[in-house]
């Protein structure tokens, strides 16, 4: 029995020493199997010998063997923890030198077109004021695009609307269908189907038969506005357009009204905004005036009301037409309108917020 006890003591000492020297998880596992393995572990074998001993011996050896087992298991676990900690620290310190200024993963993200964003921005501003959205087709009748908007046939004001006509299609009066030259026909369509009071914005694409250059395009976008009620005045127009200008161009922006002529409004008004580039001091963009021409507006011409069956003595209204490209060019500092339609992703990436 004392030999077994001695064996146990030396085994325990040896095992403690081995464990202390182990330097890998694999080595540690080998030691565990060697000493504590379920079948052939050296300590297991000593424990297996217990039943053959006397009760006195069993008691002493049993206690010591269990103590040895617990102590070895503890040592193994502690060593395992130490090795894991060491390994992790090695990994972490290896990683510490990593250059985190290397470029990040590329995200595949695009954006809406700048014109779409500007258009949404403008429309959103008016929707919050209680305007409704209205839309109309791009192929229009001469009546809706011109006559009802107080551009009678042979009127020189039609000259500024060089028109694309559609082949082989005519309206009820035998006039060729055309591509709308402005979004104003939506006014006519809306008033023909609705009774006042009404306030609408109508965004859309329009077409003019004119040569393309940096500031002209045969296709461009407008946001039309129209409000009709019994007591709408120029003051209301000033109110909404002031809000629009501050919403789109910034809270310091002021607007100025000048007399102008658009056949479907009377009085007709040209709306300037204070130049945000030079803050009104005068620069190249505002031609040293401190003001930039931004949109056309006015009070709905009585002839337009008559064309849709409203009584101009009972209602008044205002209308305005905002050139989306013009707003976008001014806002983003784009000097050539053609860039909006080339769809070069390098342009779209730059001009989209």
């Amino acid at each position: 029995m004392s030999s077994l006890l001695n064996q146990l003591h030396s085994l325990r000492a040896q095992a403690q020493q081995d464990i202390a020297q182990a330097d890998s998880l694999e080595g540690l596992e080998t030691l565990r199997v060697r000493y504590l393995g379920r079948k052939d572990g050296q300590l297991t074998k000593i424990l297996q010998a217990l039943p053959s001993l006397s009760p006195e011996e069993k008691k002493v050896l049993g206690r010591e063997a269990n103590e040895a087992k617990i102590s070895l298991e503890t040592a193994l676990n502690e060593k395992k923890g130490a090795i894991e900690e060491k390994t992790l620290n090695a990994v972490l310190s290896a990683a510490a030198g990593q250059d985190l200024t290397l470029p990040e993963s590329p995200l595949s993200v695009g954006r809406r077109h700048p014109l779409a964003q500007v258009m949404d921005d403008i429309v959103g501003c008016f929707l919050r004021l209680g305007f409704n959205l209205a839309e109309g087709p791009e192929v229009e009748t001469d009546f809706n695009n011109f006559t009802a908007l107080n551009h009678p046939p042979d009127h020189p004001a039609r000259d500024s609307h060089d028109t694309f006509y559609v082949k082989n299609f005519r309206d009820g009066e035998g006039l060729p269908l055309l591509l709308r030259t402005h979004t104003s026909p939506v006014q006519i369509r809306h008033m023909q189907t609705h009774k006042p009071p009404l306030s609408i914005v109508a965004p859309g694409r329009v077409f003019r038969h004119e040569a393309v250059d940096a500031t002209h395009s045969f296709v461009f976008h407008q946001v039309e506005g129209l409000a009709v009620d019994v007591d709408i005045s120029v003051a209301d127009l000033k109110g909404v357009l002031g809000l629009f200008a501050r919403h789109v161009f910034g809270s310091n922006v002021e607007i100025r009204f000048r007399p102008a002529y658009f056949p479907f409004v009377e009085p007709g008004i040209e709306v300037d905004i204070s130049c945000t580039l030079c803050e009104g001091k005068g620069c190249r963009v505002c031609k040293q005036t401190g003001w930039v021409e931004m949109l056309g507006a006015g009070m709905v011409n009585p002839n337009v009301f008559r064309a849709v069956g409203y009584d101009p003595d009972k209602v008044t209204g205002y209308a305005f037409g905002i050139g989306v490209e013009r707003v976008a060019m001014f806002k983003y500092g784009v000097d050539d309108m053609r860039l909006f339609f080339e769809n070069d992703v390098r342009f779209l990436r730059q001009v989209s917020r």
């Binding site: 470029p103 954006r111 102008a260 909006f340």
Partner: protein, 803 residues
């Protein structure tokens, strides 16, 4: 229209700088596009004659000139190549100052004394010309102040006159506006002529509706020669080329009074008379611009035999006034605006004359302008007034008085303005105001054709008062609830989804060439819509689809070296059906290159059809629509024959997706790996999305099994997945490998998929799953001739079951 400041001042007294005048005109509704100044700060420059020119002995390029300034003869060294004896030139004498601040001193130039400088246009601040000295007409008197002779200190304003204000298309017209604004009086130009004999044979008006008045004046003994310098300068500064004194005077009066005139060489007029009639069939006219035009049935001025002018538009060359012309017929007429407009549009010739006639001229002005022109001709070109005739057509309707209620005007303008103020303002503009302050009756002056009703009167008040006085009023609109169209929401949802997937939105013109359409045609040609007057062949078709436009954009990007480009567009397209034009809203996208942009951590993976399907499916999910189905492709020839699919919603074809045919991609100079799709959003918009309903989270864990089953390759995965899904407790099926090699029977491949089995009521046991698995495999075996390769238990727990 170009307007000279000095010319304006002949009609109204004012003391404003060109900029101040421009600001005033803008406030009145006349925008000013530009201001050009004539003449710098020049002092003591006089007119002088070059009497002789000799070469400078010590310098090749210099001349020694003897110059006479009317009093003294001076030696002047001159470097201009164009100097010659006999010229009248501007001379800056010693002590003079020229533009740029240079002061002239006595100088010795290469040994020769010089007592002044002969000036170029630039040295006088009259333009950029510095190629030589400015040569004046010979008849300019000597020793005169060049600043006066050359009308220096003038400025020309380019004024934009809107189409409703033809009355302001002249110096006198704008002077009226300025006078009204400054509360001054306006003067008429001088027009003193004696009365001449009335000659009824001079003019005959046949078309009395199209020509309502024709004032003809016959002159004789006229001497046609170059115009005096002052007139030339004014015309040139206003953009009109000087021709000869008579023609110049007609143009001068046009610019001055706004009424177009024409002068005929009366000797060339057959029988010396004119008739205003429509052109007869086949008649042509060699016009003043050198072009011979067929006259259709437009209104012409003819002599006893043939047309001599296109009424109100352009004169004829054969009867034009030239040097040697001695007898004139001066025309000042009133033509119907629409008739002139139709003629100039049909004959494609636009002139200062047609511009004014088609906007509306003044009936009364016809005689005033004629008198003014006759006055100037007699004064400048000499001769005598022989005969005249004021021929009349149907008189245009009298102007009507307009009602103007101050209360209504205040309501419209949004600020109070007293009736007395309204009255005063209108009277300054020449309106006659009668009636009570509650309701005025306002008669516009003869030249104001644009004031027809109360709103027009309101505009006059606003213009003269300034909109700066209008207060700001903010009211929210009295409204019905906002109901954005479904199409609109689809555009927004699509944009947000595709942008998040790396797509940039494109905007195109919506017009297309036939050639571009042929490339990727998706509709029969008879369904397309053409323009009657395209700008060019590149835009003859209203785009029937968006893909051809996006292909163009891809080409632009490829040419510029942009890689991995993804673009989409939402826009109206155009097609015809049953004689109607439809404008379906479409969505198209194109993507080329890699699925993930290159990065140093990984190799790029090229885009494939599975990415394309994912985007299509993602869109429908973004729109809140179930039931998207991919079916065998439309087989468009521009698509890869093995990689194209048609997209169905509720059994209806709503679009397609696919890879571009490699041959087409090559032909169109595109990268090889291009995927494209186009969808009909208008159709999709008609399908209402269902609001999602929460079904609760699973309460019991799923049991996972992996299968590897050999199927005939022709069996579509969707058929297999549908079949599997029918079995009880099959919750999810995930395909994770498709494998093929020589060990498998020909025409077969092995599909590896994982099925999650889940009973919503309890946790399934292994034995139960084994049973389901067995029947499920037997089913696919009999249905598809499949054979099992492997089954593995996956005892991972399903997500969401922390219990």
């Amino acid at each position: 229209m170009k307007i000279s400041l000095l010319w304006l001042k002949e009609f109204v007294d004012f003391d404003l700088s060109p900029e101040e005048l421009a600001a005033l005109l803008r406030r009145q509704g006349f925008d000013v596009a530009s201001i050009t100044r004539f003449g710098g700060d020049v002092q003591n420059v006089v007119t002088a004659k070059v009497e002789s020119v000799q070469k400078h002995p010590n310098a090749d390029r210099l001349s020694l000139c003897k110059v006479f300034d009317g009093k003294n003869r001076l030696d002047v060294v001159c470097g201009a190549p164009n100097v010659a004896a006999g010229q009248t030139v501007p001379l800056a004498r010693v002590g003079a100052r020229v533009a740029g601040g240079l002061e002239i001193k006595r100088a010795v130039i290469r040994g020769q004394e010089s007592h002044g400088m002969l000036c170029s246009a630039r040295e006088l601040g009259l333009g950029d010309d510095h190629g030589g000295i400015l040569i004046l007409p010979e008849d300019v008197p000597l020793g005169k102040d060049a600043a006066a002779v050359l009308a220096m200190g003038d400025a020309v304003l380019d004024v934009e006159v809107t189409p409703n204000r033809p009355d302001a298309l002249s110096h006198w017209g704008l002077a009226r506006e300025i006078a009204a604004a400054l509360k001054k009086k306006v003067r008429l130009p001088e027009m003193r002529i004696s009365k001449a004999k009335r000659d009824p044979s001079l003019v005959k008006i046949e078309e009395t509706t199209l020509c309502t008045r024709y004032v003809g004046r016959a002159l004789e003994g006229v001497k046609v020669s170059p115009s005096p310098l002052w007139m030339k300068l004014r015309l040139e500064r206003c953009g009109i080329r000087s021709i000869n004194n008579v023609v110049d005077i007609t143009n001068y009066v046009l610019l001055e009074m706004g009424h177009p005139l024409h002068a005929f060489d009366r000797d060339k007029l057959k029988e010396g008379r004119v008739v205003v009639r429509r052109a007869a069939e086949g008649e042509t006219l060699l016009c003043l611009d050198g072009v011979t035009r067929s006259l259709g049935n437009h209104l012409v001025i003819a002599d006893a035999a043939a047309p001599t002018a296109l009424a109100g538009v352009i004169g004829g060359e054969p009867t034009a006034v030239h040097t040697g012309t001695g007898r004139l017929l001066l025309e000042s007429a009133h033509f119907q605006a629409a008739a002139v407009r139709r003629a100039r549009m049909a004959l494609a010739v636009s002139t200062e004359s047609s511009y004014r006639f088609e906007r509306g001229t003044d009936w009364d002005m016809a005689d005033l302008a004629s008198r003014r022109a006759a006055h100037l001709i007699l004064q400048i070109a000499g001769g005598t007034l022989l005969a005249e005739l004021d021929a009349r057509g149907k008189k245009p309707p009298e102007k009507k008085a307009v009602k103007a209620r101050p209360a209504r005007i205040n309501l419209l303008l949004g600020f109070p303005i007293a009736p007395a103020e309204i009255k005063k303002t209108l009277e300054r503009l020449g309106f006659v105001v009668k009636g009570s302050p509650a309701r005025f009756s306002v008669l516009p002056p003869m030249h104001r054709h644009d004031v027809k009703e109360e709103a027009d009167v309101a505009e006059e008040i606003a213009r003269m008062t300034s909109y700066d006085k209008v207060p700001t009023r903010i009211r929210t609109a009295p409204q019905t609830p906002h109901d954005p169209s479904r199409e609109n929401s689809l555009v927004r949802l699509s944009g947000d989804f595709l942008a998040a997937q790396g797509f940039w939105e494109a905007k195109n013109y919506g017009l297309l060439s036939r050639a571009a359409w042929e490339k990727c045609r998706t509709l029969p040609d008879e369904a397309t819509v053409e323009l009657a007057n395209p700008m060019s062949l590149s835009g003859e078709l209203l785009a029937p689809a968006l893909l051809p436009l996006l292909i163009g954009n891809l080409q632009t990007n490829a040419r510029r070296g942009n890689k991995n480009v993804r673009l989409f567009e939402c826009a109206r397209t155009f097609r015809q059906a049953d004689g109607k034009i439809l404008e379906p809203l479409c969505l198209a996208w194109v993507a080329e290159g890699d699925a993930q942009a290159p990065h140093w951590t990984h190799r790029p993976r090229p885009l494939d059809i599975w990415d394309a399907k994912a985007w299509a499916k993602g869109l429908f999910s973004a729109w809140g629509l179930d039931g998207i189905e991919f079916r065998p492709g439309p087989g468009h020839p521009f698509l890869h024959p093995a990689e194209n699919l048609s997209i169905h919603l509720g059994g209806v074809n709503v679009g397609y997706l696919g890879k571009l045919h490699p041959r087409r991609a090559e032909e169109w100079e595109l990268p090889q790996n291009v995927y494209a799709a186009e969808l009909d959003l208008s159709f999709v918009a008609a399908k209402q999305p269902k609001t999602s309903k929460f079904a609760g989270l699973p309460k019991h864990p799923a049991v996972f099994r992996d299968f590897s089953v050999v199927f005939p390759e022709k069996t579509p995965w969707t058929a297999i997945a549908d079949r599997l899904a029918r079995h009880t407790f099959v919750d999810e099926i995930e395909l994770f490998d498709v494998f093929k090699d020589a060990t498998l029977p020909t025409g077969h491949h092995s599909l590896a998929f994982r099925i999650a089995f889940r009973d919503p009521e309890r946790t399934l046991t292994d034995a139960e799953v084994g049973e389901i698995q067995k029947s499920l495999l037997a089913d696919v075996q009999s249905a598809f001739g499949a054979s099992l390769r492997l089954v593995g238990a996956k005892n991972t727990s399903s997500p969401g079951e922390n219990m």
